[in-house]
Subunit: 311 residues, 2 copies
């Protein structure tokens, strides 16, 4: 087998698109700039971590469970690096998401989650493929290292941010941002924006110990339907976060609508969590220079249409 030289992450990953959101700022009462990852490869920040994982591990085969953005991101990263990728997805996944993984060259293993969990299927496949690396979408030091590039971009943007607000699901994004900002020697407060429906991270921070949701939360922010923070991420976030805003469902939806109306931006619900957080707790952000991380734009047309119906 011919060894391929991996392009460095700085070439493979696209920088975030910074959008100064003048009308949104007027509405929110603070000076908002969006750090947009909707135009990242595969349409979300997940490619940053997926590429880092796929490039750094020695295995030529990667295996992961994902119903969303990480699967597509890992598939594209593996194709770029000449590796193979197998993504376990629920059989009920939206066709558009299955097609995205396949379109980026990934193999898809569909599992009937009413008879077998995704985790159980991943374990089965890991036994069948002992040479494969089992990649977590969030709980892996390489994931944090990959996402740190976004923190560095925010710190080095020359925009004088006082606060960054980013979505919290498994915590891979926020722990990466905290790490990247520290590496840059900058001092910017990092706030998490978490769905109130699945507020394990906020409860963990309050309790000082890692807590879980009883079940996968039923929030519209499908990128934040995690049962708990990753262990690696918690170690960073427990002292690295300035705080977490718990965002009610209606404020997540409001965030998607405001991004559409006042910033011409198509955001997925998870990506609108930070704007929803500012709407939820405006007093925390009033008059400050705030960077809201719009983590991705992959929302299916039906969901998006229903969200726009209320305007």
């Amino acid at each position: 087998m011919r060894e391929q030289a991996a392009p460095p992450s700085s070439e493979a990953v696209r920088p975030a698109t910074f959008v100064e959101a003048e009308r949104l700022s007027a509405k929110l009462g603070c000076d908002v700039t969006l750090a947009v990852e909707s135009f990242q490869h595969t349409g979300s920040f997940k490619f940053r971590a997926a590429y880092e994982v796929a490039a750094r591990v020695p295995q030529r085969k990667l295996l992961t469970a994902s119903s969303g953005n990480f699967g597509a991101a890992l598939a594209r990263a593996c194709r770029l690096l000449g590796k193979s990728c197998l993504v376990v997805m629920p059989a009920t996944s939206a066709r558009v998401k299955i097609d995205a993984v396949r379109g980026y060259g990934g193999a898809v293993d569909l599992v009937d989650v009413t008879t077998k969990s995704r985790a159980a299927r991943v374990q089965e496949l890991a036994r069948e493929h002992p040479d494969a690396y089992v990649a977590s979408a969030y709980d892996d030091p390489l994931v944090i290292a990959g996402n740190a590039s976004l923190g560095r971009e925010i710190a080095c943007s020359g925009r004088g941010f006082e606060i960054v607000v980013a979505p919290v699901g498994g915590g891979g994004l926020t722990s990466g941002i905290v790490t990247g900002i520290r590496e840059s020697g900058a001092s910017i407060a990092v706030w998490g924006a978490e769905p109130l429906e699945g507020n394990d991270a906020a409860r963990s921070l309050a309790a000082g110990t890692l807590l879980s949701n009883q079940t996968e939360p039923r929030t519209i922010a499908d990128g934040a339907r995690t049962v708990s923070l990753g262990q690696n991420n918690w170690a960073i976030l427990r002292e690295g976060l300035a705080g977490i805003v718990e965002v009610p469902e209606e404020m997540i939806i409001d965030g998607v609508r405001l991004l559409f109306l006042l910033a011409n931006l198509k955001a997925e619900p998870t990506g609108a969590l930070p704007v929803g957080a500012v709407r939820t707790s405006p007093e925390r952000f009033a008059g400050r220079r705030v960077c809201c991380v719009v983590s991705g734009g992959n929302v299916d047309p039906g969901t998006y249409r229903r969200i726009l119906e209320g305007i």
Copy 2:
């Protein structure tokens, strides 16, 4: 009155956002990069020209007729320059558009177009305000000079474009792009994308003389509902355009959908004309490095929802 120094256009205007559209390229069969103006001030390329006009004319008061993007752009430019702005709009305009002009500090004069034309109302107001400059949204050398900055950005992007495709309405954008590319010493073919429903520019090019539509065309691309090209623009376009693709309505809609699905981009129908043009005449663009200009993102939620229904 205190004279204000006008910020140079290079500081007041935002550069276009270039998005390499990998999945869209695979679908269209050519190497597509989007030059996106949806994140320009006021959400469309119109701010480039509006700022140039407002900054260069000596008058402190500007008057224009616009039902859409130019009014908002001129209002914001005038506010920035400490000038006043009056925009004549049909009384039937969408509330969101009237609010946008007012939000940027412009005064709005609503006219009942069933009893008086917008042009007639502008003439009335021009007599009432002899000190005002009556600004055309497209037929003015200053408009071309303002839009030329986008041509320079495209030429100097280092992306090796062979072809640029941009929407054609009154011709202000394409004549600006042709001018800017020439100023940069680059050689890139500029194609126009015009609604088939209002194909006056395509017919003019074929006839070698400036022709008009009988009435304002009823295309969904509301930025291209012009009766004819401007005289100033025609002088440049008659020999500056490589050609014009006439885009059927269903291909304009298809363009909006493809930008949503494959590039995470909210585009207004006029902004999707270039992608619609590549879909309409794929053989002209096959395998080439193509820059599609997405001229703006200001589409109201109801229209956008109806467009997404077909996916």
